[in-house]
């Protein structure tokens, strides 16, 4: 099945779970908040990919965005940590149990301001983590102050004007070595769903910056994070579709007009090109694309950079395949002989 034929058609997925096993608690976010739409897509993606929710962990920092893990995947353990530190908590959890599938939800303030340090270093490590930034250019939960992704010159309700250029989280991620970098829009159901599904199949860090309008504080005229603006100014890299490894890919195959990226788990990501040759596996191309669309006041959306075979952090650390958390005592406490040997060395 492809993103073109949306989930609802099927009643249950390959685990015979229906979509309700992927839903979460009732949202406490504002009606119309982009974050809610993203939660919906996350539910669809995990459902359609047939991921066992008990294998999933949901982590976040603090913010409206960081509240959202409570609104999807109820059967999964969740951790609403502290502001800007989701990446370190996710890192620890994955080191403890590599068999988990981690999705981290953060905000542009959470990741771009206080959390930029952990953002930088987690991108560098290529930890197995789906890292979603719900990007609304403001601090929603604290009532709309500018975040580091706010537009230069945009004006807040209290009349304060933002006088600093925005940080492009995608450009940073590419520069720092993330192996899957994408940008989408909370309102673009089809694209966001395909990207999320590809991210689930990806092995290392998938950093997805999702423009997600804050209808309460940052949906005003002239804000490039407003719903209206993004609708007009997004520049899709072309159609994206994703075929999980367990599905027949032939249907989607349209040679010539598309690049195919074979994912780590054997599934395929197809980018059907509309613009000039775009090669998502070249950093310089990715950077140029981001800089140029920024100059044009546009958002390039889609999968911007991908390096499917890059070693993830678990591989780099050469860990035993079993979860470290559950290793039995005899594998983690050396024998008495070892202690004696150590003592001899000191006597």
């Amino acid at each position: 099945m492809s993103a073109d034929a949306p989930a609802p058609v099927k009643k249950t997925n390959r685990l015979n779970l229906d979509v309700s096993s992927y839903r979460g608690g009732k949202t406490t976010l504002c009606a119309g908040c982009g974050h809610n739409a993203i939660s919906e897509r996350i539910i669809d993606a995990f459902f359609e990919m047939g991921v066992d929710p008990k294998r999933v962990i949901k982590l976040s920092g603090i913010g409206c965005s960081s509240k959202s893990p409570a609104y999807f995947l109820n059967p999964s353990h969740g951790f609403n940590s502290v502001h800007g530190r989701m990446p370190s908590v996710a890192t620890g959890a994955m080191l403890a149990n590599q068999s988990l599938l981690a999705i981290g939800v953060s905000g542009d303030g959470d990741s771009g301001a206080i959390g930029i340090g952990q953002f930088v270093h987690s991108m560098r490590r290529n930890l197995p983590l789906i890292y979603i930034i719900e990007d609304n250019g403001c601090y929603g939960l604290t009532k709309g102050q500018f975040s580091p992704t706010a537009d230069l010159g945009s004006k807040a309700k209290n009349g304060v004007v933002n006088d600093l250029p925005p940080i492009d989280m995608c450009a940073l991620a590419v520069e720092l070595g993330a192996s899957f970098v994408a940008r989408s829009f909370s309102g673009d159901k089809k694209q966001l769903l395909s990207i999320l599904k590809a991210a689930i199949a990806h092995k290392g860090t998938s950093m997805i910056d999702v423009i997600s309008p804050c209808v309460t504080f940052n949906d005003h005229e002239g804000s490039t994070k407003s719903y209206a603006y993004v609708k007009d100014h997004e520049e899709p890299l072309g159609e994206i579709s994703f075929i999980p490894f367990f599905e027949d890919i032939s249907v989607e195959y349209e040679p010539g007009t598309s690049t195919q990226v074979k994912m780590h788990d054997g599934s395929h990501l197809t980018l059907r090109k509309i613009t000039e040759d775009y090669n998502p596996s070249d950093k310089i191309t990715a950077m140029r694309l981001l800089h140029e669309s920024l100059r044009r006041g546009e958002f390039a959306t889609g999968v911007i950079y991908i390096e499917p075979d890059k070693d993830d952090f678990i591989t780099t650390l050469n860990l035993v395949p079993e979860p470290l958390a559950f290793l039995p005592q005899d594998r983690v406490r050396p024998s008495k002989a070892v202690l004696e040997q150590l003592m001899d060395g000191l006597s």
């Binding site: 008990k54 294998r55 962990i57 982590l59 893990p69 409570a70 109820n74 059967p75 999964s76 353990h77 969740g78 951790f79 609403n80 940590s81 502290v82 530190r85 990446p87 370190s88 908590v89 996710a90 890192t91 620890g92 959890a93 994955m94 080191l95 403890a96 149990n97 068999s99 988990l100 340090g117 952990q118 930088v120 270093h121 650390l317 050469n318 860990l319 035993v320 395949p321 979860p323 470290l324 958390a325 559950f326 290793l327 005592q329 594998r331 983690v332 406490r333 050396p334 008495k336 070892v338 202690l339 150590l342 003592m343 000191l346 006597s347």
Partner: protein, 611 residues
């Protein structure tokens, strides 16, 4: 502890012709000059001769070129605290030589580099000039190696002057350089060269000498940080996240080498552990919290500045009830303070760490052996109580060499605490993450990946079922349960060690690395001022009932600690029976050097006089 030592023998006085096995040596050099090997050989050789010994490195906060002092104390009674007075000086550093000599008491001895002409400075000392460059030239042809070999020469000199068995020195040297035959040969030659020179040109005129004893048999020499690292190894730690900082770094770095040696999977050659050098201390603790939350035994190690940065996460772990083992190898504050000076200055800050109402468990190792044991206790307690546990060591305990009993293998299996599983789940009607089903304030936790019911982890905004709640009553009952859990901790932490003297009206309370100086001070008080004292050594916070009982049994209690603000005394004032507070007095030492017995003795005597 000296309680394990034979009955005290009278101390030799300067007057007596010879002072055997009871003196201190100070080697003054510059750091980066490679004197470390020579000093360790000196230390070990005396140790191997059966004389209780301790070595303390007083080093600067840079890498090379600044003054460093290494003091070795040999003492037949087993006193291994720092001795205030220097008896035998080896003056190798032109920059400090004059001060070093001027600060000596009369009658002491000085070995010095001849060109420094120190003998002109004073007439009340014994001087031994030594032409180091001349000797080194003879034993070492390669000019660029001489700087390093030079130090071994003073070992040779001391071997002769202090009658330290050269064979023992050679043995000590071999165990260090065994793998580098060329270097070994060279250094052995230097040793002999030094001894030969001394024998031919120097006549012994000072009273200090060592003579073989049997007081170190079966003991080991080890740094506290290495001991703690071994503790973590045997505690079965699986996730370590750390950020370098003096004086903590050598703990995780020793741990790295132990783990790579003893914790690689036999069959696959893969690691049964993950050690991450994080980008900072905030990330380090974040990783530890994430790992513990996911069920791993996780730890970090740092010093004061790192604790400051970790404060927010510490509060989260307290309220979300997530285990975390945090080693704080204390140094003096603040961050650009003196990173290479020791202190016990983080007691209040760790006990009360983070904003809001918080209380934390502290373990207070007083010896290398306890660094080992308490590392294991820390993981057990942290998982059993589902809360952060701080292990408060310090630079003196962590980075200096300590004589110790060999460590005992932990018989008790790993205590993983209340981790929910299928059976348990059945027995509980309706599991709730924060339900106090056992009445000890400790709830049952569900770990991701175990198939147990999921929950959403947050700070204090939750009810017993871990649902989001802003209800006042939910908040209060959660806070009260946490307080109750802390009382449970009180029943589980290591009890203090009490040495009761039936006729003592004065009690001493101390903890951590101050222990050794207190032991010695008590002997001084008894023998020189015949003041009998009882002694309680704190080993943990929260305080156990023994402590109030001990205070009650004495009229005056001296709380000995290495900080300015009487931090442990403050905690005692906060937590003890209010009627006892008047009995508490303070003995403080906070100049950055390890505390010494004499300072304690003087302070107590002075306060006793005033009455």
């Amino acid at each position: 502890m000296s309680s394990t030592l034979p009955a005290p023998a009278p101390q030799p006085t300067q007057a007596s012709s010879s002072v055997t096995n009871d003196f201190s040596i100070q080697v003054a050099t510059v750091n980066g000059s490679g004197s470390q090997t020579a000093n360790l050989v000196l230390l070990r050789s005396i140790f191997q001769m059966g004389i209780p010994v301790s070595g303390k490195n007083l080093f600067p906060s840079n890498i090379a070129g600044l003054p460093t002092w290494y003091t070795i104390r040999a003492n037949h009674r087993g006193y291994i605290a720092r001795k205030k007075e220097i008896d035998f000086l080896v003056a190798m550093n032109p920059e400090t030589a004059k001060d070093d000599v001027m600060s000596l008491e009369p009658g002491r001895a000085v070995v010095y580099d001849e060109p420094l002409k120190l003998d002109t400075l004073r007439s009340d000392l014994t001087f031994y000039p030594v032409p180091f460059d001349k000797i080194v030239a003879e034993v070492c042809s390669e000019a660029k190696l001489r700087r390093l070999v030079k130090n071994m020469i003073y070992d040779g000199i001391l071997s002769e002057l202090l009658s330290i068995d050269l064979a023992e020195m050679a043995k000590a040297l071999t165990r260090q350089m065994g793998k580098k035959p060329k270097a070994l040969a060279l250094n052995l030659a230097a040793l002999e060269g030094g001894k030969k020179y001394a024998a031919e040109h120097l006549t012994k005129r000072d009273p200090y000498r060592v003579a073989p004893l049997d007081k170190t048999a079966g003991q080991v020499l080890v740094e506290g940080n290495a001991a703690a690292a071994m503790g973590c190894l045997f505690a079965g730690v699986t996730v370590v996240a750390w950020y370098p900082i003096t004086p903590s770094s050598s703990l995780p770095e020793s741990l790295i080498s132990y783990m790579r040696k003893y914790r690689m999977d036999k069959d696959t050659g893969k690691a049964t552990f993950a050690i991450v050098q994080a980008e900072d201390e905030i990330a380090s603790l974040g990783m530890v919290i994430g790992a513990s939350w996911a069920g791993a035994r996780a730890m970090t190690s740092t010093s004061g500045p790192g604790i400051s940065l970790m404060s927010e996460f510490v509060g989260l772990a307290y309220y979300a009830e997530i285990p975390a083992v945090i080693f704080d190898i204390q140094r003096v504050g603040p961050s650009t303070g003196l990173p290479t000076r020791t202190a016990q200055g983080d007691v209040l800050f760790t006990a009360l760490n983070s904003h809001g109402d918080t209380r934390h468990v502290l373990l207070l190792p007083g010896s290398a052996e306890e660094c080992f044991d308490m590392s294991i206790d820390a993981f057990d307690l942290s998982e059993q109580l589902q809360t952060p546990v701080f292990v408060l060591s310090d630079l003196d305990l962590g980075m200096n060499n300590w004589m110790s009993k060999p460590f005992t293998y932990p018989e008790k299996p790993l205590q993983r605490g209340k981790v929910l599983d299928q059976e348990k789940l059945k027995t509980l009607e309706g599991w709730g993450r924060y339900k106090d089903v056992d009445g000890d304030g400790v709830p049952w936790r569900s770990v991701p990946g175990t198939g147990m019911p999921a929950f959403f982890t947050r700070g204090s905004g939750h009810n017993a079922m871990a649902q989001y709640s802003e209800k006042p009553d939910d908040y209060v009952s959660n806070l009260d349960r946490l307080a109750h859990k802390f009382d449970t901790a009180r029943t589980m932490v290591p009890a203090p060690i009490v040495q009761q003297d039936a006729k003592a009206s004065v009690g001493i309370i101390a903890y951590g690395s101050s222990h050794w100086a207190v032991e010695e001070s008590r002997d001084q008080l008894r023998e020189q001022s015949d003041l009998a004292t009882s002694y309680l050594r704190l080993r943990a916070y929260p305080f156990t009932p023994e402590i109030d009982d001990f205070i009650r049994r004495h009229d005056r209690i001296y709380v000995v600690e290495q900080n300015r603000d009487a931090q442990m005394l403050s905690l005692l004032r906060m937590d003890s029976d209010p009627t006892l507070v008047v009995r508490l007095r303070s003995v403080l030492h906070y100049n950055g050097l390890p505390i010494d017995a004499r300072s304690i003795t003087d302070s107590i005597l002075a306060q006793e006089k005033v009455g």
